[in-house]
């Protein structure tokens, strides 16, 4: 008796309000919403990629302009690294936008868990794929800077930008080390504060579902 009563209460719960849907208008609104979402995704992609493209242009210019061989070599490495960063971002974004909402609850949770684990891995390993390679290439770049007069090189703009003295080199390297350490800390913090709690939540639900009773 109680069971049927509960089912009736449940079924009647949606009758408290009349749900009106103007389908034609709704599909138009959804079309607009979809366009806005796609536009935002494109904007985000451009924002993320433009920093790397800027890096590629700058270091290509340095590789062309600066005469010191070791610094030239580091510029090529930097360009390669920026290309890798673009690839990494694009791959991560593609994975994050794939949703399986029409899959069963268990499959959807497993899928979401996998995506979040990848995200945690990406954020936690920022020291290896982001900070270390860029610091090493920057280090080689700075160490490779020699005396412009030895190469008969004159470019006031570039010369003024580059740390050519020992003191300037050490100062820049220390500054860069702190900058990358901060970057690593920010990424690790995002993994711990933003992603791990959701991951834990998913694992809890998976455990509840997998319990035999």
């Amino acid at each position: 008796m109680l069971e049927q009563e509960l089912k009736n209460i449940w079924k009647n719960s949606s009758k408290a309000a009349q749900i009106n849907i103007e389908t034609d208008r709704l599909t138009q609104d959804f079309d607009t919403k979809m366009t806005a979402i796609q536009k935002n995704i494109r904007k985000r992609d451009v924002r993320e990629i433009s920093a790397s493209v800027f890096g590629i242009l700058i270091f290509s210019f340095f590789a062309y302009e600066i005469p010191f061989p070791i610094t030239k070599f580091s510029c090529f490495l930097s360009v390669l690294w920026f290309v890798y960063v673009i690839y990494r971002f694009r791959k991560s974004n593609q994975q994050n936008t794939s949703e399986k909402l029409s899959a069963s609850l268990t499959k959807q949770l497993a899928h979401k868990k996998q995506l979040l684990q990848q995200q945690v891995k990406l954020l936690d390993s920022a020291a290896y794929w982001y900070a270390a390679p860029s610091f090493i290439t920057n280090f080689i770049f700075i160490i490779g800077l020699g005396n412009p007069e030895d190469y008969n090189w004159k470019n006031l703009l570039t010369e003024n930008l580059l740390p050519l003295t020992i003191t300037a080199k050490i100062g820049v390297l220390i500054g860069l080390a702190f900058f990358y350490l901060f970057g690593v800390w920010i990424n690790k913090r995002a993994a711990k504060k933003d992603v791990q709690p959701i991951l834990k939540n998913i694992e809890d639900i998976q455990q509840q579902l997998n319990k035999p009773n």
């Binding site: 009758k15 069963s104 268990t106 979401k112 509840q208």
Partner: protein
């Protein structure tokens, strides 16, 4: 599919009440059931061209509704927090048939469902919608046996909670 708008229209007519019932259970401040309902409908509209017919339409709709609601509850969907309500969906209170006692009973039911964990909540909302164990198993991805065992425990817990309130 050329007749997609017609299918979508039919699908909404058939399923809007069951979707709304689920949304009423999962909506948590600051997200209102209407916001969640709109998001479920949006996801159905987005997924409809990819519907392959491997499962029944009912199962497919329930899966999307549950997944979207759970995603919202776990705060996975950051975009949902700034949802703009569309004018094409509107709710009008049914004054003449609205039963105050019925609403109160629903409030009790909602309170008791809130004491269950996420897994049990997803099973009970499907059970209250009079779905068979087989259908619930298809939607959740669990086995029919597992659902049967779980339902025995969930039912007891729910009855224990709601009986004193209703009486």
């Amino acid at each position: 599919m050329d007749n997609l708008p017609t299918i979508f229209d039919e699908l909404l007519k058939e399923n809007k009440h069951k979707i709304y019932r689920i949304c009423r259970i999962y909506a948590a401040t600051p997200i209102e059931p209407q916001d969640l309902f709109q998001e479920v409908i949006f996801q159905i509209w987005k997924s409809l061209p990819n519907f392959k017919g491997n499962s029944s339409v009912d199962t497919w709709v329930y899966r999307i509704a549950l997944n979207v609601c759970l995603r919202s509850k776990m705060n996975l969907d950051k975009s949902n927090q700034k949802t703009t309500r569309l004018d094409a969906i509107y709710f009008t209170p049914v004054a003449e048939t609205a039963d105050v006692f019925e609403e109160e009973k629903f409030r009790y039911l909602k309170e008791c469902i809130a004491t269950l964990n996420e897994s049990d909540t997803s099973i009970i909302v499907l059970y209250l919608d009079e779905l068979s164990y087989k259908e619930i198993a298809e939607i959740t991805g669990l086995s029919e046996n597992n659902i049967a065992v779980k339902m025995k425990r969930i039912r007891n817990k729910l009855f224990e909670c709601i009986t004193p309130k209703i009486n």
